[in-house]
Symmetry: C2
């Protein structure tokens, strides 16, 4: 938790209060802060800044001198389509994609997504994981998350409308590397000075454990998603998400 995010309702003029227990616990036990100390805070959907601790009880922390002057960092111009993963890793994946600044996250069904994953109680807790991600990444704007239980209709009818600067699908068993894909994009755009911003696609599809099956890759390819690999090594979904999205940070 690199900042404490509070909903607009917790602010009044230059005062605010914290009453969520994980945040109170963090202030007490991780920061070991006391009255008079300054905290990094932010308003959900608003600006970032600081506030001073005015009063502390076990279930509420009162803040004064609230100054919210810094806009949140820009979102990545990126939609991630992720095959719904095991519930156990869902929390960290949502946190990481949020912390990295992904604007849109679409959790989709895939052949290797087990049906039971869609019944997981973790899916009811997405807002909580988003809040953790925002407080980790020091951002205030939540990504938009949607669930798509039907792969084929989504890919054929909706995905094409989401692509503006190109789309890729991560697939270890393909011949084109991400570097080759980007190189091809640079050359098309004739500008070697600013390769990344220009060449980066705005949509990336990432499979769950076991990846995509050929049928899925073909359906995605038919809608313009080019399969790319990042080398011969096969990565855990979490590692793959960070490795791939890290390319947008440079």
């Amino acid at each position: 938790m690199n900042c404490i995010l509070l909903p607009a309702a917790n602010f009044l003029h230059d005062r605010a209060h914290i009453h969520a227990l994980p945040q109170i616990d963090h202030v007490h036990n991780v920061l070991a802060a006391k009255v008079g100390d300054t905290l990094k805070i932010g308003q959900l959907g608003g600006h970032l800044g600081t506030a001073m601790i005015d009063n502390m009880t076990p279930d509420c922390i009162q803040l004064r001198d609230v100054k919210l002057t810094m806009p949140p960092p820009p979102k990545l111009d990126l939609t991630v389509i992720l095959a719904l993963p095991r519930p156990k890793v869902l929390r960290r994946l949502i946190m990481d994609m949020t912390a990295l600044g992904v604007r849109d996250i679409i959790l989709i069904n895939s052949y290797r997504t087990q049906k039971s994953y869609w019944q997981s109680p973790m899916l009811k807790r997405l807002n909580e994981f988003v809040l953790e991600g925002l407080q980790q990444g020091v951002d205030t704007i939540a990504p938009r998350i949607s669930l798509q239980k039907r792969f084929k209709p989504f890919v054929e009818d909706e995905l094409p409308w989401l692509v503006s600067k190109g789309a890729i699908v991560a697939h270890p068993y393909t011949s084109q590397s991400l570097a080759q894909y980007l190189q091809k994009q640079y050359l098309q755009k004739q500008d070697l000075q600013k390769p990344s911003a220009l060449a980066m696609p705005n949509l990336v599809c990432i499979g769950a454990e076991g990846g995509w099956i050929d049928y899925e890759i073909e359906l995605l390819a038919a809608q313009g998603c080019e399969a790319v690999h990042v080398g011969p090594r096969i990565l855990r979904t979490e590692a793959a998400v960070n490795v791939l999205l890290g390319q947008w940070l440079l």
Copy 2:
């Protein structure tokens, strides 16, 4: 587990056997394989290939037609110096760095590393985490791992000998981005066609939660480690490791 790695002692001519329980469990329950099926296997420190299941019991799987013809993928020319993290995340960090192909891993003490971490029983299980990482990343060559409990003597006396192509330290609170660092390296090397391979440093230092303190950054800088950031967002150690090392895969 994208391949099953066995020690040399488990092979005899074109036969081999699996008797480690996690591997047997994987063959039975994840792969649901049966006699006559082909498995992807490899010899620790040797080649990768395939073998056919000849016989299965609950505590041993006999393999025949062992063909180990493929060399493992090349290691990254990279030493990662990582501040010893919380034991809970150590397993995934070692797995991911191994799967990504890091050649050398040095776990070091830092100001924000709690003393108790050095007593964790997880430190006795590094070989197990490396095996998981190799089986994930489909590699057979373990990274070299060393532990350095004394930050200053290590940084001053040993680190300089490890640097051949440049060194960086990840630090969110610095002015130079990794992109700017790499751009500077490209320009020095006068070759825009193959930027990454030429410009990538061969040593990267990554802090644990809370990152490095200024004193540590100064000590590292004095030995030529340039501080770089990857944007305004602060990432979990695991996410940061994958985001940073992912740059070596392109």
